[in-house]
């Protein structure tokens, strides 16, 4: 199968992430670290690296975007509506301690610390394409584990048909929530078979490092065949439900953003043609692929649906 074509070497092995950053920022960090010897309390939280990570056969072999692109061009309205706001405001988001409530149609509901959530799962590197509904795309080396493995641990009941997710709601840490640009907290959802699909990932890292706040630290969803807004960030609640859960962008503009949000070049958004996209770092646009190029793996999930209606 074409998707079983891993890159020979993981990007985290080729180049340390620091080199991907611009020199000024790197030097700034070095200076800050030097200054920190005099003022230990000023020591910035050093990015923590995960150990050696196994390579996922589900990774694309396409070259990933730079660490700088991925961490400075973000849609995370909780940290500001400009693309560069999230990186600027991310320091406000405190990710330790962090806990996640699992409830609804599960045998083992409860509130768990992030450590408890992660403990039994082996992390791996997954390089995925990400396609935004705004018609730009990136390739991102995530660190994470399949959502399905987590859901199984909590033993869904037979009534569980959907999985609903909620982002942290705290205007102190997420200043964008002080204005009602969207209805807070941000919520998203998947159908059970989508949630259990091996491509659906819970990410905790990027380029072998702990996920930065602007990318949805400490725990975010990644659904590579759907538009980016579906991949909810900074998750504090996972609920298994019988009914289709509300989703934030669908609530804001139902004719523009559907529940499914599958990448589909044949169904235009009123503001952006979805036929083509700009891969950040490239000059010319490229054709958008159905399901963002993951059709072979996921198209059968929707074989009985009219995707112009269930967009």
């Amino acid at each position: 199968m074409p998707f079983l074509r891993p890159g020979d070497i993981r990007p985290s092995e080729i180049t340390p992430a620091a080199v991907y950053r611009d020199r000024r920022r790197f030097l700034g960090a070095a200076l800050a670290a030097g200054g920190a010897l005099l003022l230990p309390s000023a020591l910035p939280a050093a990015p923590r690296r995960f150990g050696p990570l196994p390579r996922s056969p589900l990774s694309t072999s396409e070259p990933p975007n730079s660490y700088k692109d991925i961490t400075t061009y973000n849609n995370f309205y909780e940290l500001g509506t400009g693309k560069d706001d999230p990186a600027r405001n991310a320091a406000l988001l405190k990710t330790e301690p962090w806990s996640v409530t699992v409830d609804g149609e599960v045998e083992r509901p409860g509130t768990y610390t992030l450590e408890d959530i992660l403990k039994p799962h082996a992390l791996e590197e997954r390089i995925y394409r990400l396609r935004c509904v705004e018609a730009w795309s990136m390739v991102i080396p995530w660190v994470g584990f399949p959502l399905g493995d987590l859901i199984k641990r909590f033993q869904p009941t037979s009534r569980a048909k959907y999985v609903a997710f909620t982002t942290l709601h705290d205007p102190e840490q997420l200043p964008g929530q002080r204005r009602n640009v969207l209805q807070w907290p941000y919520v998203e959802g998947l159908r059970m078979d989508e949630a259990m699909h091996p491509l659906t990932l819970l990410a905790v890292g990027l380029y072998g490092e702990v996920l930065p706040g602007q990318n949805g630290a400490p725990l975010r969803l990644v659904v590579p065949w759907k538009y980016g807004f579906k991949s909810i960030k900074s998750i504090v609640r996972i609920s298994l439900t019988e009914q289709m859960p509300p989703t934030t962008w669908n609530r804001a503009a139902p004719h523009e953003y559907g529940f499914y949000a599958n990448v589909n070049p044949a169904v235009d958004h009123p503001r952006w043609s979805q036929k083509r996209e700009r891969r950040l770092g490239e000059l010319r646009k490229r054709e958008t692929l159905p399901f963002n190029g993951y059709a072979e793996q996921v198209a059968q999930l929707y074989s009985s649906m009219d995707l112009t209606k269930w967009y």
Binding site: T72, T81, K83, R271
Partner: protein, 200 residues
């Protein structure tokens, strides 16, 4: 006026070029962000709209202050509005769409924010082409009527911006409020109080 009109125009001319110079400086320093094409398009659009509002501010400023120099800068400001609108359109057609006429036409027909933007640009084009004195002479009284198209152009431009925004309408609302104020001042100009101001 301390500055002679000629020097005033030279200074304003250079001021109007500084946004372009600033963008070039950012580009040379590699500081256009992860999506430079989007940055460039937005930047030119922002400045076209700002200069359009400045152009529209000339008449109310004269009426409120009694100064005549704002009105003598009006054509210069209007032409720079078109200059940035042209760069905005070129950045879209060349950098973003790379002369893909089919895609551009589809955008114009199917996406209201592009439709309004194109209409605004067409109106500004008509005004720029007839901005010279020969056209003024040739068109006579119709010249003034034609150049009232600046009002629908400004409204279309403001709507174009508002339609582009996904959820956070703060910025387009600020521009919209300024435009409403500038057009509103013209409407109340007909009232007696305003006539008195005008005739003093």
């Amino acid at each position: 006026m301390v500055l002679s009109e000629r020097w005033l125009k030279r200074v304003v001319f250079l001021l109007c070029l500084t946004p372009l110079a600033w963008l070039l400086a950012l580009a040379l320093r590699g500081e256009l962000g992860a999506n430079p094409i989007e940055t460039i398009i937005r930047y030119f659009g922002d400045w076209a709209l700002r200069l359009l509002l400045l152009t529209l501010a000339a008449t109310p400023l004269r009426l409120l202050s009694g100064w005549s120099w704002p009105v003598r800068l009006r054509r210069l400001l209007g032409l720079f509005t078109f200059f940035y609108a042209m760069l905005h359109l070129l950045a879209y057609a060349v950098l973003d769409q790379f002369f893909d006429w089919a895609a551009i036409w589809e955008d114009i027909v199917e996406r209201p924010f592009i439709t309004t933007g194109m209409l605004a640009w067409l109106l500004l084009l008509a005004l720029a082409l007839t901005s010279n004195q020969a056209s003024q002479r040739r068109l006579g009284r119709n010249w003034k009527r034609l150049h009232r198209l600046i009002y629908p152009a400004a409204i279309l431009a403001a709507v174009h911006f508002a339609l582009m925004v996904k959820a956070d309408l703060r910025e387009p609302l600020i521009y919209g409020a300024i435009l409403t104020l500038l057009l509103g001042l013209r409407l109340i100009r007909r009232t007696r109080v305003y006539k008195t101001l005008e005739n003093r």
